[in-house]
């Protein structure tokens, strides 16, 4: 018997994209690539159940329909391309925080007292990843998580996600435009071309 998939997607359908079915093994990472406006973000939002859509999704063999929506989103975490902050200070957005990860992402604990207004786009992006990880999700949906980062932090984030895959069997769908990055993070992925999803390997 084949090992149970961590994430099973069956006939997921958003916008005018063709229905998409796939399975992700525990700890597997796949990339998602396509021109802007082709529907990558909408696919991730559909998996996180944030928009109306067709299709069925299972996590560890359990159907999404049988889980409360907010529990689903806590386990299948979507990290949007643009992070959003609503309180004045960074720390007010965190209930718990891994200080080790914080240091690797280039921050001291003092960052928790920083004002959101002072943060650069890149700092927000790194902190948003940390925030998304603090709920210990089983699946990560990453929408261009390194788009505003330099080489060093791009590498740090790839390493952190890699460790989560190995140590906690977190499965990842990673939206990226960078060919080199696709090769580093995944063995296979999907291209969106003319409204259909084409599976490719690297």
């Amino acid at each position: 018997m084949a090992a149970m998939n961590r994430l099973n997607i069956e006939n997921l359908q958003v916008l005018d994209l063709a229905a998409w079915s796939t399975g992700l093994q525990p700890g597997e990472c796949v990339f998602l690539f396509g021109p802007s406006g082709s529907g990558k973000t909408r696919l991730l939002r559909a998996i996180a159940d944030l928009d109306l859509h067709e299709g069925m999704i299972e996590l560890d063999g359990e159907s999404r329909r049988h889980m409360l929506a907010h529990e689903w989103r806590a386990r299948v975490a979507l990290l949007p391309a643009e992070s959003c902050w609503w309180n004045e200070k960074v720390g007010e957005h965190f209930t718990n925080c891994d200080t080790d990860l914080l240091a690797r992402l280039g921050f001291s604990e003092a960052v928790m007292d920083w004002e959101i207004l002072r943060l650069s786009t890149g700092e927000k992006q790194r902190l948003a990843l940390l925030r998304a990880l603090s709920a210990n999700p089983s699946v990560l949906l990453l929408d261009e998580p390194t788009a505003n980062l330099d080489k060093i932090f791009t590498q740090v984030i790839e390493e952190i996600v890699g460790e989560l895959r190995q140590q906690k069997n977190v499965s990842v769908i990673w939206v990226t435009h960078d060919d080199a990055q696709m090769k580093r993070i995944a063995k296979r992925g999907w291209h969106i071309r003319n409204c259909s999803l084409v599976e490719t390997t690297v």
């Binding site: 944030l50 929506a69 989103r73 975490a77 992070s83």
Partner: protein
């Protein structure tokens, strides 16, 4: 002390003041002279109409007529709540939500006042029931429309914040909690302010009216306190209910934010 009856001439003199204001608006190019005149004419016609209706209803005390008038008042108030929201729920919800909240809070509190506090016989005596209900509706209307307008408008502006919270696994209720609290406070604030300022900054309208009509000041004061408490409770509970159900309606059963359920006025 006898009531000094006003003649048409007396009202005519007062109307000249309003016309002078309209003239000033015209000369100063404020552009509200038309609105002033139309609103003034509406005041006269609407109040004359309700005066005649009340005269009939007071003469023939009948529960049916009183119920009918109450329903008409409620529906007009419901329409007004809907019209005052820049972003409002589409379809029947836009009208029904505010109207239901007003119905429950205003009617319930008016009935408590009639049965438990004033204890008139019969309980629907129109001299008590109609003005009480009218004041309840007029004020809950303000609270509920302010609260719902704030809720829908803020949810629209802060959609990315609400969705960011949903992505982090928050419940729908948690994701909109601060906006909901803020909206309920907004709806209650006018009444809280009115209670705090009553008698110091302003003499409330109802009390002024009673005193002008010849009531002893202390009786007028007691009624005014009663009314203020009832209005505050009615506005508070009504706003609470409207904003709570309104915020629930912004999400579906999968806790997705569904802002397409709102429509923008104009």
């Amino acid at each position: 002390m006898n009531l000094i009856a006003l003649s048409a001439l007396d009202l005519g003199i007062a109307s000249i003041l309003v016309l002078l204001l309209a003239l000033l608006s015209y000369k100063a190019r404020l552009g509200v002279e038309r609105q002033i005149v139309i609103a003034g004419v509406r005041t006269v016609l609407q109040l004359l109409l309700i005066g005649m209706i009340l005269k009939v209803i007071f003469a023939a005390v009948h529960l049916g007529w009183i119920t009918l008038l109450s329903m008409v008042m409620l529906l007009m108030a419901g329409r007004e709540v809907m019209a005052r929201q820049k972003y409002r729920l589409k379809g029947w919800w836009g009208f029904g939500l505010g109207t239901m909240a007003m119905f429950v809070s205003s009617f319930f509190i008016t009935l408590i006042a009639l049965f438990v506090i004033v204890r008139v016989d019969p309980w629907y005596t129109p001299q008590y029931s109609i003005p009480l209900l009218g004041m309840m509706l007029g004020n809950t209307m303000t609270g509920i429309s302010l609260g719902l307008d704030r809720l829908n408008h803020t949810a629209w502006q802060q959609r990315s914040i609400i969705e960011a919270r949903l992505m982090l696994g928050w419940t729908w209720s948690g994701a909109i909690a601060d906006i909901r609290h803020d909206s309920i406070r907004t709806g209650m604030m006018p009444m809280i302010n009115a209670m705090a300022a009553a008698g110091i900054v302003s003499l409330p309208g109802m009390m002024t009216g009673q005193i002008l009509a010849g009531s002893p000041p202390m009786e007028a004061v007691k009624y005014q306190i009663l009314i203020m408490f009832l209005i505050t409770a009615g506005t508070g509970f009504g706003t609470f209910a409207a904003v709570w159900f309104g915020s629930r309606r912004l999400f579906d059963d999968r806790e997705r934010l569904r802002l397409e359920r709102l429509q923008v006025k104009g």
